[in-house]
């Protein structure tokens, strides 16, 4: 029983306050899972939004692959759809930022975040639980897209080991964008900002190697696009799966895998501390 608390009939003894370090880690893992499982319960209770989130990249893949794709040439030759599928993996990862931001903003504005913060739970569990749930969601989304990609003729040419590395790089980018999403979700005023981000992801995606190769753009735009972190991951995935379009003379194009690891680490290094600090000091 917690000292000072009124005994509650039917309530089992509560883990003591101020436990040791090992205990804290157990508590963090447990509480994070409880928070993440809340999202899974949401998926079960309201499957609509999840299905839309899963199918939206598929829709874009079909639109670009079959409607625009015929008019697009891949530098160095090759099928546009084979070029597009790895790009869509990155786009799906990018869209994930909206899921994160919506969840964080909604909880914050409804006062649920404050309730969590006033509970005797492991510090960091709210954020860790959010990470866990969103990574699970994105992994599921990538699996769906991988299946659709295979069904539309995309093939992984270079073996399971390199494909695993490609998936790892995609999830690493998702992890980085998660922190950006949490940070934005904590600082924005209201849900209308989420709509703003939903719009802004498009120029960000177009100004990258997701849909077309930067080498086909005007030189100065192409240079920006080549250095876009999204391009690094897209090019790295194409490289690892042996897909066409891995051309271009820029340093960025030649070191895509290094950049696909470096950019997310940098984004995480900037936004994870910012988000954590913001979460601890939600001042209003």
């Amino acid at each position: 029983m917690t000292p000072g608390a009124t005994p509650v009939p039917g309530v089992a003894p509560v883990p003591g306050a101020g436990p040791g370090a090992a205990r804290v880690r157990v508590r963090l893992a447990r509480d994070s899972w409880i928070i993440a499982r809340r999202d899974l319960q949401h998926w079960a209770a309201r499957p609509g939004p999840v299905i839309i989130t899963l199918l939206f990249p598929v829709l874009i893949l079909v639109m670009f692959g079959y409607l625009f794709g015929g008019a697009l040439l891949v530098p160095g030759g090759g099928s546009y759809r084979a070029f597009l599928v790895p790009g869509m993996f990155v786009a799906a990862v990018l869209f994930g930022i909206e899921t994160t931001m919506t969840a964080v903003t909604t909880d914050r504005l409804r006062g649920v975040t404050d309730r969590f913060r006033s509970l005797p739970m492991a510090g960091g569990a709210v954020v860790a639980g959010r990470c866990l749930a969103d990574m699970l969601g994105s992994a599921l989304g990538l699996a769906v897209l991988l299946g659709v990609g295979l069904a539309t003729g995309w093939r992984d040419h270079d073996g399971a080991g390199r494909l695993t590395l490609a998936v790892a790089l995609l999830l690493l980018l998702r992890f980085a964008l998660l922190w950006l999403g949490i940070y934005l979700g904590l600082v924005v005023k209201g849900p209308e900002a989420v709509a703003g981000v939903q719009i802004l992801v498009w120029p960000l995606a177009f100004l990258s190697g997701i849909f077309v190769a930067p080498s086909t753009m005007p030189a100065w735009l192409g240079a920006i696009a080549a250095w876009n972190p999204l391009s690094a991951t897209a090019t790295a995935v194409r490289h690892l799966s042996g897909d066409p379009g891995v051309t271009g003379s820029s340093w960025a194009a030649g070191h895509a895998i290094e950049l696909a690891a470096g950019w997310p680490l940098l984004i995480t290094a900037v936004f994870a501390p910012l988000a954590a600090r913001r979460y601890r000091r939600l001042d209003r």
């Binding site: 000072g4 089992a12 949401h42 309730r115």
Partner: protein, 338 residues
């Protein structure tokens, strides 16, 4: 059971948001097992205080203890001993009522079976058992509030913070929440309640602190405060505005305080310290003088009027000569001041 003498103690607590001093050296003591009402207008600092006491916000200066623990140095200890009901019903809209309670119970460290048991008890206690399986988004405002309240009582915390718990509720839902709070208090919980409504503080609180601009203006039992705030107010509407002058003298003589005439509405307003009996005399005097009364009403002083009694006229009227910063004038209360 190891205890604490006072549920909440603050000393010279300060918090600034930019240029605005939300708390300006606030001192407060809340005795164990009591209900303490924090009464103040919007922006008085009530919510800032509750957020500091519930470890959500750090004070800039001063000291605060809840249940015997320093909120800054021992926030984890404080969190084990408090419940918080914020201004909005902080419940998960997608989960059911039961799902919400199980979630929060698990996060309080209960095992899954214990969480289910506790959720069932609380649903029963707060009259939500029938709606337990429905998503919280389908609940009425009052039900949502009760679920919110139940979610903050998982461990039956010794100190409960209610930040404007009935804001935005209809009268029926408000009565439901009041009844729930009374039951808790009967069980020995200390409650710190913020409200903008004099009536709510009066209904629920053993002690009231009136706060304004981050300081306690006055504190005491409701009866003491009411006597300081002033008695009931009387309003007499005359048929003819020209009668206001003579009528004010007659009423003043009968009730013991000269009322304030308002020619626009042909109304006399003023305190009625001697109550209804004196008023009967005033009416008789008006009748004898041939002055026609169209309407008469007695009402409790409003919060704005209470502030006027405690602070004097609105700061805008007091002017900068009294050390008030210009530009801090508030719109509320000015109507009464003039």
């Amino acid at each position: 059971m190891p205890g604490f003498a006072e549920a909440v103690v603050t000393e010279r607590l300060t918090k600034r948001f930019g240029e605005v001093a939300a708390l300006d050296g606030l001192d407060l003591r809340v005795g164990r097992g009591t209900v303490h009402g924090l009464l103040g207008r919007n922006g008085a600092g009530k919510t800032t205080l509750v957020r500091i006491l519930t470890t959500l916000l750090r004070a800039d200066g001063g000291r605060a203890e809840v249940a015997g623990f320093d909120v800054r140095r021992q926030p984890a200890q404080v969190r084990w001993r408090i419940g918080l009901v914020g201004q909005q019903a902080a419940v998960d809209e997608v989960l059911s009522g039961r799902g919400n309670l199980i979630l929060f119970a698990r996060l309080h460290g209960l095992s899954a079976p214990a969480a289910r048991r506790r959720a069932a008890e609380l649903l029963e206690q707060f009259g939500l058992a029938d709606a337990a399986g429905r998503p919280a988004s389908t609940y009425s405002g009052g039900m949502r509030r009760r679920l919110d309240l139940a979610s903050s009582l998982i461990l039956a915390p010794p100190v409960l913070f209610l930040d404007e718990p009935t804001a935005g509720l209809d009268p029926h839902s408000r009565a439901e929440v009041w009844a729930a709070v009374r039951r808790l208090v009967a069980g020995g919980t200390t409650v710190l309640l913020t409200t903008q409504y004099l009536e709510e503080a009066d209904q629920l609180a053993d002690e009231i602190s009136i706060i304004d601009r981050g300081r306690v203006l006055a504190a005491g039992r409701p009866a003491e405060l009411k006597s300081r705030i002033g008695a009931d107010q009387v309003e007499i509407v005359l048929r003819d505005a020209a009668d206001l002058g003579p009528a004010a003298s007659l009423v003043g003589g009968a009730v013991g305080a000269r009322p304030h005439p308002d020619p626009d509405t042909r109304t006399l307003r003023g305190p009625a310290p001697r109550g209804v009996r004196a008023l009967t005399g005033a009416l008789a005097a008006l009748h004898d003088a041939g002055l026609v009364v169209e309407d008469i009403a007695i009402r409790r002083p409003t919060l704005d009027e209470a502030f006027l009694q405690l602070t004097g006229p609105d700061p805008a009227d007091r002017g900068a000569g009294h050390g008030d910063e210009p530009g801090r004038a508030r719109a509320a209360g000015t109507e009464v001041a003039r």
